[in-house]
Amino acid sequence: MSESQEPAKLFVIILDQPQLVDEILTGFLDIGVKGGTVIESRGMGQIIRDDMPIFAGLADLFGESTGNRMIMSVMPQSMLNPVFDLVEEVVGQLDAPNSAVCFTLPVEQFRGFRH
């Protein structure tokens, strides 16, 4: 089955350590992921801490964050496990605070240029 016939998935990484973006993208290239989108983003906790004074007294519940990066890439299903492994290699244990979360979503339709 060729790569284009495989079910496509959207891989999403929300990275709490923006300085690791380069390592993730380098790993993408190594694995064979040829494209993706990186968005500067803010987590809910950061917005609550910084922008919503009513919660100031409870700010410690929401962990400090310097902002995060959301990386999105549509890829064939066969690449998912190598990419999960890559994220763990770069970030470390994903269940630690201020590391990253990643998940996949099915891509039902796709139009546009595909590498």
Binding site: E23, T26, G27, L29, D30, I31, P82, L86, E89
Partner: protein, 154 residues
């Protein structure tokens, strides 16, 4: 992409007394041509130097990544080279390099080159990896160590 698929023991090279970047490229090209056949050493050196003239491949870590796509090859090869004492590589930002990964492949393998460059960057950025390579005293040890470092990554 595992580097191990592209590196061979006879493409693991330890050099000493290399006077210049161009001398380095010529010595490695000769060893490449002898090891893999199907490629002319002078033509290969010319292609690698042409790429270097577009912008040095030397990195601040003291690693150079010369690469070229040439006629006459059926597949891509990578040489890992340790330069004892280092060599100046005509870079504005890098004084000298002492480790090099030289990538040579057919003309239609641009994406493979990109993936290999990414792989090598990951290997070189891993803590302690360059120290392991730099402390190799023979080509065999260098080969063993680069394969070991490659194996540490997904």
């Amino acid at each position: 992409m595992k580097l191990a698929e592209f590196i061979r023991p006879d493409l693991s090279i330890v050099l000493e007394g290399v006077e210049s970047r161009d001398a380095f490229i010529h010595r490695v090209s000769e060893q490449f041509a002898e090891a893999i056949g199907g490629v002319d050493a002078e033509a290969l050196a010319g292609a690698l130097l042409e790429r270097e003239e577009q912008g040095s491949t030397a990195t601040p870590e003291g690693v150079a990544l010369p690469h070229a796509m040439v006629e006459g090859l059926a597949r891509t090869y990578v040489a890992v080279v340790l330069v004892k004492g280092g060599v100046e590589f005509r870079s504005n930002n890098v004084e000298s390099i002492d480790v090099a990964f030289v990538i040579v492949g057919p003309r239609d393998t641009a994406w493979e080159h990109v993936r290999l460059l990414a792989r090598i960057a990951r290997i070189c950025h891993a803590p302690g990896a360059l120290g392991e390579l730099r402390s190799a005293n023979t080509a065999d040890v260098l080969h063993e160590r680069v394969i070991a470092e490659d194996g540490r990554h997904v």
